[in-house]
């Protein structure tokens, strides 16, 4: 199937999430943390969209908005054509089972006083599926699917290693046959041999269940491995988005270039020249007026552009980038 024929499962349009914070000397002034400040993206069925970006740029917030753990301040989230952004908890119920999230720290997200069997049975109970016996059978099937022994059902989370706990987190996320799974740094805490097992599992499940993933991570080799398309975020916005291949072959945004140049290569003889970015990461509390990256970029910014934001534009088929003199070399050629 060609890219144009693929079915779009998720569309996010100009999404904003502004958190109230206290600031000032006496912590009295009301300010806003603009964790997401106009994010737009599209995800096709069966596809993985990787999300990379500076810590604090809003990746988890984006994930939490899509599963509606956060209620966005503005913008639209359409899942299979249905608008989710302003639904109430009750209105969301039919969608909850279709959109699931896996967290970096499976320990924190698992209730330590419940057995694995109880934890995995819970989603079926909440959605009123099957009787006890049928649910137990489903739990056994789930355990097998994620490569855990059937005896695991009787045991408690603390009895498992990090990798196994992540398998439990995955089992719970896929229990109700979701369409979309947000994976928020699912392998960041695992050692590399366990990481490769979990990545293999996620790829297998995607093929088997035709899952769509949003995959958040800092390790670019991991993101490149699992993603069909990649979005690069900076300070509450997506600044570049293209196919995984294109992002690495033809990065256009200065931040993307800096990221790629900073990838640590597991080969001590290949120490490389880095673009080490200077300056502070701007804060999402009172973010800069114009282009957020301008003050850290090595590209010159003409004075008339200082307070002007860039424009997120499709500069080649399915290759989007924030166009601004400080972000894209020879930006005029794309205008």
């Amino acid at each position: 199937m060609s890219a144009t024929e693929k079915k779009v499962i998720l569309t996010v349009d100009d999404l904003k999430m502004h958190f109230p914070v206290k600031g000032g000397v006496l912590m009295r002034t009301q300010q806003w943390c603009k964790a997401l400040d106009g994010v737009s993206l599209r995800l096709n069925e069966g596809e993985t969209l990787g999300i990379v970006g500076e810590s604090g740029c809003g990746k988890s917030t984006l994930g939490k908005c899509i599963v509606r753990l956060n209620k966005p301040t503005a913008g639209s989230i359409r899942f299979e054509g249905n608008e989710l952004s302003d639904l109430s908890q009750r209105g969301l119920k039919p969608y909850r089972r279709n959109i699931q999230m896996i967290f970096q720290d499976p320990v924190e997200s698992l209730n330590s006083r419940h057995t694995i069997g109880n934890i995995l049975e819970e989603p079926f109970i909440i959605h009123g599926i099957g009787n006890h016996q049928e649910r137990r059978k489903k739990v056994a099937e789930l355990l097998e699917k994620v490569g855990l022994p059937s005896g695991a059902a009787e045991r408690f989370p603390f009895e498992f290693s990090g990798g196994q706990r992540q398998r439990i987190g995955i089992a719970r996320a896929i229990a109700l046959n979701p369409r979309l799974v947000i994976c928020d740094e699912p392998v960041s805490a695992l050692d590399v041999s366990v990481q490769s097992q979990i990545l293999n599992l996620l790829v297998d499940l995607q093929r088997e269940m035709n899952l769509s993933y949003i995959f958040i991570a800092h390790n670019l080799a991991v993101v490149k491995h699992i993603s069909d398309r990649i979005a690069i975020m900076y300070l509450g916005k997506i600044v570049e988005m293209a196919s995984a291949e294109e992002i690495f072959r033809n990065p256009l945004h200065a931040y993307t270039k800096a990221l790629i140049s900073a990838i640590p290569i597991p080969d001590p003889r290949r120490r490389k020249d880095r673009i080490i970015l200077q300056g502070d990461v701007p804060s999402p509390i009172n973010p800069p007026e114009g282009c957020a990256f301008a003050q850290r970029s090595w590209l010159p910014c003409p004075p008339e552009w200082l307070n002007r934001p860039g424009e997120f534009k499709e500069v080649a088929p399915d290759h989007w980038v924030e166009l601004h003199p400080a972000t894209v070399e020879n930006y005029q050629q794309y205008v």
Partner: protein, 208 residues
């Protein structure tokens, strides 16, 4: 140091580790920060008192690679300035390759192999080290291709053998016989120095 000075120093340290708007952040609570920002705060706390040894346990795991590069540079420059030793504990073989002089590879509570960073990456002698190097996704790899894994699981801490702990996962043809032997029940393998400064667990079935 007065309380005001300590407050000012805290703001300085937060700025040094790359926290934006440190004057505001210093008055916030941990849950208001992103995961990566919390990690930077911890690094600031560890470096504030200029210690002789820093044990950095996964110091940059939650950070994006540009900040990771900055933090590692920061730790290196503080090291050059103050001469402190750094023990860097990490899963990230790329970070090790780029920042460390010497490497210790541990498996199930014991040292499997030890050497210079070049020894470990270019001439791994332990099957566990080899397994780790083989299982990382590489930038030049094919997307979604099956990654290599190390068969089996890390043994539980309750049923650790006296002998080589990696043996149950070893593809070596002699592994089964070794595990059936009395040696496996009674003899803990020593580390041997195979070449100057390069040590490995002295047990044939877990060596490359």
């Amino acid at each position: 140091m007065s309380q005001e000075e300590a407050w000012e120093r805290s703001i300085d340290m937060l700025r040094k580790v790359g926290i934006p708007a440190p004057e505001i952040r210093v008055g916030e609570f941990p849950h208001q920060l992103s995961g990566g920002m919390r990690q930077r705060v911890v690094i600031a706390m560890a470096l504030a008192l200029k210690p002789a040894i820093v044990i950095a346990d996964e110091p940059t795991t939650a950070l994006d690679v540009t900040i990771q590069a900055q933090i590692l540079e920061l730790m290196k420059s503080l090291q050059a300035e103050m001469g402190m030793a750094i023990i860097l504990i990490t899963h990230d073989l790329g970070v090790i390759a780029e920042t460390c002089d010497d490497v210790v590879v541990m498996y199930a509570g014991r040292v499997a192999e030890r050497g210079t960073v070049n020894d470990i990456f270019e001439n791994p002698l332990h099957l566990y080290t080899r397994g780790l190097l083989d299982s990382i996704p590489r930038m030049e790899g094919t997307p979604k291709e099956r990654l290599q894994t190390i068969p089996g699981m890390v043994p539980g801490l309750a049923d650790l053998p006296v002998g080589a702990r990696f043996a149950p996962r070893s593809p070596h043809p002699g592994a089964a016989a070794y595990m059936a032997s009395k040696e496996y029940q009674t003899v803990r393998p020593e580390l041997v120095e195979v070449e100057p400064g390069h040590w490995v667990e002295d047990c044939e079935v877990v060596r490359t």
